[in-house]
Amino acid sequence: MKRGSLQGGIYFRSGSKPPPSFAFLLLDVAAGASPAAVRTGLEGAWATLKELADGRLAELEGADRSSSKGLRDQFTGLEFLFGYGRRLLDSNVHDPPLTACARPTGLVFLDHPDAAFPSLPWAAGSSANRGEADVCIQMTAGHEAATRLAATEIWKYLVRSESPLSVSAIFTGFGRADGRGWLGFHDGVSNLDSSQREVAIRAETRPEWMIGGTYLAFLRIGIDLASWSALTRSEQELLVGRGKLSGRPLIGVERFESGETKPIAAAPVTARSTDVARAEFHEPAQTTDPLLEASHIHRANQNRGSASAPAALRIFRQGYDFFEDFEKGAPRLGLNFVSFQADLLTLQRILHLPGWLGDSNFGGPTSAEESTSARLLTLDAGGFYAVPRRSDPFPGAELFA
């Protein structure tokens, strides 16, 4: 079970990189549906995705050769995974219950409308959390058309088969070729070394149906780009903990009599740099300046420990940016924060503990007067999902036995 038990679309292996298109499709089960009907619906949805990944689309069977080749090219690299949300295991929602399987400890609803995490408030006007659902399907591919078409094909299948499953929401996103995010900084630089990711990701504890699987946290985080853009580059770098252009970790802060501060970055990594210098680029050395210790990269990785040390609170992040619209003259945009971890309590600790990200919205000192990141991020939607190991006819089928 160990090797290769994780579902597709988790790009944790050395050299693998998430493709640029992301869709997160959420499905809900109608009240009173039988487990058997849900199982049939999910089996069909899984089969639909497998056909698409093979470049086949039922209604276009028999099309000319060039059209078929185009279809195959379009879906090359389509990866997908199934996850199950807290809602599916809620007997208040599903009575009688859809499954007799036990709920994993950390699989919980996010608090709403109260803040789910102390320093990450819900976006103004979010009347409901659209990120919670019975089932999530994460789809990633090289082309936007592939993830959008796949989502639509699933919808078609569910309607056609009169399944009790229906689409409740979809969130989409993209990755940039330059590896940067909306803040202008490189994203994911501090992620775990590939050799340690599987340990951080793979669930090893009960319930039995989740052993060999993983847990996915999805947080659709809006970014106040106007506030961010109003900061100087130095201020931004001190909040992040890295140089904006180079991505190099900061190792010190120069302070001037005027009260201004100037970040000092580590030496550059070059082609001649050692393995260790490269590793230190990702996982910077101990800083002794309180301003740097309060920066995002240090708050999120206080102890610089390995995935084998439970207290290091290591998770594997795989985020995608999003852009929705211009609203009142400003863009509505942000990050689809997606993380995979062996235990959702790890993420809860990171986001609740003072000193980590429990007392800072993004980074920087705790005191409100000092913190320039007080309201940089807000939560638009979010949910936690249990992502079972690979199995036939689809992952998690045993839930509906």
Partner: protein
């Protein structure tokens, strides 16, 4: 040494004895405690970890681990993260109060030897009693007249062995200090000294990686799967690799660095106020404005129509039924003084090695099976 907070209670002789003890324990290793007058440039830095015994949870599963850890002797003996607690329940079993301590037994021993009156007063205070009998603490009716080693032995026998600890440290009437067999100053010092060596890991592909692999720490000084040992070992070995001067900050101890209060919800959905979390026994470091608390008591004020056991942890959606759930909210810290300047080191190259049953689950499971079978 600089004395403040509880350390002043040791008195001059006690302070001197405590200082000598630290020097003796730390001297064989590469760590020491920073003394006044050290002229090197240091900054404080904490290694932190959750108080919940993660190895016990991994081996036994969450529900069994929670039940087991609340058992007086066998459970207490697996509260192995430098934090121990007692859970006080109502007659119907509902949790009404949890008391946690990180105070080192070595410190309490020095207090017992040098300040018997203060010791008895403190124990009475922690137990919520007017006074306690010296006989129950020292096994002596008149500890004041006894020789120092008699006081030491009497206190150790009556208060510091998990199997035989009297009611004032067994959790029955109070909890005063750490008594789990590996939660000692000596064990901490051994681990720290063993980890403070510069090395690099060479993986199967010949890549040289940063020294963050707890498997490299000898099993005799570190237990894999714990919250504390691996992270302490990794962090110190990383600092050693960076060529930093590292010392344990004074006052030496394990401190409660934070409590994730925002994970709890009252029956009305509100977050319990900070006043319900009484932090105490501040060791008085007051470095960077941060207190160094060694004790936490959490309970709902009697005026409310609910108790601690009616609160829910939003991270698990579970009601508080065991002390370990409170420990899960508590973050502990070991405070270091880290030299500002790094210097070049010549790290030793090591290869990761795997161990059989690295978490030692087999013996833990056997102990839990036996203890839970005999519990009500």
């Amino acid at each position: 040494m600089e004395a403040s907070g509880p350390f002043t209670e040791l008195g001059p002789d006690g302070l001197e004895a405590w200082g000598k003890l630290m020097d003796r324990v730390l001297s064989p290793g590469r760590l020491r405690a920073v003394s006044e007058g050290d002229d090197a440039e240091f900054a404080t830095s904490d290694i932190d970890w959750p108080a919940t015994p993660s190895r016990v949870l991994s081996c036994l599963g969450r529900d069994r681990a929670h039940q087991f850890l609340d058992l007086p002797v066998h459970g207490r003996n697996k509260q192995e993260e430098y934090c121990e607690w007692r859970t006080i329940r109502r007659e119907d079993g509902a949790v009404i109060r949890v008391e946690l301590t990180t105070e080192l037994a070595a410190y309490w021993r020095v207090l017992a030897i040098h300040q018997p009156s203060r010791l008895l007063e403190l124990i009475a205070e922690l137990a919520g009693e007017e006074s306690v009998s010296p006989g129950q603490i020292y096994g002596l009716d008149d500890p004041w007249s006894a020789a120092e080693d008699e006081r030491d032995l009497g206190f150790a026998e009556n208060m510091l062995a998990v199997a035989t600890a009297g009611p004032y440290n067994s959790g029955e009437k109070a909890i005063c200090c750490l008594i789990q067999e590996t939660n000692t100053f000596q064990a901490l010092a051994r681990l720290a000294a063993s980890a403070s060596r510069p090395y690099l890991i060479e993986d199967e592909q010949g890549r040289k990686l940063l020294p963050n692999s707890p498997e490299l720490i000898p099993p005799v000084v570190a237990q894999l799967g714990r919250s504390s040992d691996p992270v302490i070992a990794e962090r110190l070995s990383r600092l050693a690799f960076e060529g930093r001067t590292v010392s344990l900050a004074r006052p030496v101890g394990i401190f409660i660095s934070s409590v994730a209060r925002t994970r709890l919800r009252c029956p009305d959905g509100s977050i319990p106020p900070a006043e319900w979390f009484s932090l105490a026994r501040d060791a008085g470091g007051d470095v960077d404005g941060r207190a160094l608390h060694q004790r936490l008591v959490i309970e709902v004020p009697p005026a409310r129509d609910y108790v601690l056991g009616d609160l829910t942890d939003v991270a698990s959606e579970e009601r508080i039924e065991h002390g370990a759930q409170i420990a899960d909210l508590v973050q502990l810290a070991l405070r270091l003084e880290v030299g500002l300047k790094a210097r070049r080191t010549r790290p030793k190259l090591l290869a990761p090695r795997s161990r059989k049953d690295p978490l030692d689950c087999r013996s833990l499971t056997a102990a839990a099976d036996q203890a839970l079978a005999g519990s009500p």
